[in-house]
Subunit: 190 residues, 2 copies
């Protein structure tokens, strides 16, 4: 089942979900169509399972953050670190999620959950601004978008096991660190 | 010619460059094939023209920055602001550029120019770190990637004329401001 899901994610990401057929998947896997339908009922179910991997990870981070005591800015930082960890752990699924457009019900549902996560982020940002902990001279909605634009942009270049940069041997923790330093404290030398 | 280019960019972005044929373009424009070939010699030429709009903009910013006197951190900030302005002014072309993969010569050339721009950015970052103006605890290559990941992520949500966020009526200048505040000084309230 896992190999079917991974092959589907690779095809959906490369060619687009619309342009991929179950026949393409049969060819890529070299198994029979009935072997696939033994595990999943449709292409749409594969998209739900794949985007679910990324979204369930993000929502479990949000749920943990929601239970955290303390200031909104600390919870926001935790949300960012947790999201980077999900991105690193579920990279192919997150990349697919970020490319979903929304023509079918499964795509629209994934987009709606993404928006729900964005609203959760924007609320934390608003609260942290109200607490006086985040700068008030950037709109909270813009801040939330830039912050997660920054996190998601990592999917464009980060590949597990390759380290963080040319000659840099940092792990995922360092990536969360680098993003939080840039986003919360800025690049300017203290 | 402009309408042919814009239609080509829309199709390349939506379906992918590989999956788009000159016949698709003929159909989208409702003109004859020979009318298109009167203006351009090939699909590849259209890709070169389209990615060139984005790349020429970015390289003219880099050239201006290169001539600027003063500290590397100030030139870097100018590069970021200028790149945001190019993104806003040439949005469909930048979106296409960011999706180019690299199977044909025109795509590979565009990718090579993108890498050249990235090297220019990374050099400025290194110089600003050496000047003691940027924090030394993030690798310069990672910093350059995160910085332009942040800038490019704007293409995911910014649409001209809609303002910056929900209820925010800022212009492009505000967008460059918001990005530079976040990236250089951080979101934490001063």
């Amino acid at each position: 089942m896992e190999s079917i899901l991974l092959a589907a994610v690779a095809l959906f990401t490369e060619r687009g979900y619309d342009a991929t057929s179950m026949e393409d998947l049969v060819r890529a896997l070299g198994i029979t169509k009935s072997a696939i339908y033994h595990h999943v009922s449709s292409k749409e179910e594969l998209l739900r399972l794949a985007t679910g991997r990324a979204l369930d990870g993000l929502f479990s981070v949000a749920a943990a953050v929601d239970l955290m005591p303390g200031r909104a800015i600390d919870r926001l930082e935790r949300l960012v670190r947790g999201s980077v960890a999900v991105l690193v752990a579920q990279l192919p699924f997150v990349i697919l999620l970020l490319r979903v457009h929304g023509n079918t019900a499964a795509e629209r549902d994934a987009l709606e959950r993404r928006r729900e996560f964005d609203r959760f982020t924007a609320e934390l940002v608003k609260q942290a601004v109200a607490d006086g902990d985040l700068r008030p001279d950037i709109d909270p909605v813009v801040t939330a978008r830039l912050l997660f634009g920054l996190v998601n942009s990592v999917s464009e270049w980060y590949r597990p096991g390759r380290g963080l940069g040319s000659g840099v041997t940092g792990g995922d923790g360092d990536l969360g660190d680098a993003i939080c330093k840039l986003a919360f404290d800025g690049l300017r030398a203290p």
